[in-house]
Amino acid sequence: MSLVRGGMGLIALSVVLTALVRPTTRADDHERAVAWLNDFEEAKRVARRTGKPIFVVFR
């Protein structure tokens, strides 16, 4: 019984460690997806409303 409890504890610990050290995943990338606008006039309206400066990338 104590062996079973010990095994469960190790599994739980490995799950926690894996969560802490896991590499960046696609889900993380998705969470950091930037909501790019493609219309400068719309960007000016948003900038005026939010007080943020505008970052324009030309590709």
């Binding site: 400068f40 400066p53 324009v56 030309f58």
Partner: protein, 249 residues
Amino acid sequence: MFDEQLVRPDPELYGLIQQFVPVRIVNMSGVDVSLFQFDYDLTMAIMFLNADEQVYSRYGGRDHQSAEKRISMNGLKNTMRAVLAWHKSRSGASLPARPRQKMTPEDIIGISPLPQGSSNCIHCHQVNEFQWRAQKRQGTFNPESLWGVPLPENVGLTMDVDHGNRVVAVAPGSAADKAGIQAGDVLEVVNGVPTLSQADVQWGLHRAPSEGRFAVQLRRDGQEQTVTLQVARGWRRTNNIWRASVRRQ
């Protein structure tokens, strides 16, 4: 590769981008090039502005040796931080709109705007080509304009890639050397252009005369100074064969 890092930013860059309104433009059709003035031959260029269309800074650059040696992710992040600090310092103050005649690439060569959703595309480098074509038609073309957006090295300056307005080295005997610029100086305004990045330094040089003088404001050991650079005929000329707009002339 740099562009890919913008699409999938690291957490630090993502946090910085979140403090801006991000815009991505992949077609110059209909874009106001009287406002968006930058090095049109770059495959990726960035401009920072506010809602009043005040330009804070530009980012991006390359030369004939490398497409990426003049840019870095740290350099971009440092420029973004400087822009945010400047923007915050003037927060609440609204500037009057500058008098400006909107000019699109289509206006330059007198063609109709491309229809919305058109599969046709005007590339950035074509803006230069359109301007030169129109100038040749009007007899106002200056061949020196083929050497636009000069490198800092053309006046003897080597800039820090990660802190683009900081001087790393000054070539002995160069225009910068004769003006008294030293390694470690931080350039704040070049020929009237506020400089937060190497691209800003280059834009100030872009607007400098083909020969003559222009002022540079700098900070050294916390003290502001203004020096005068004198440039001689041909100072803009450098290897520009990487420029698509020039190759098509």
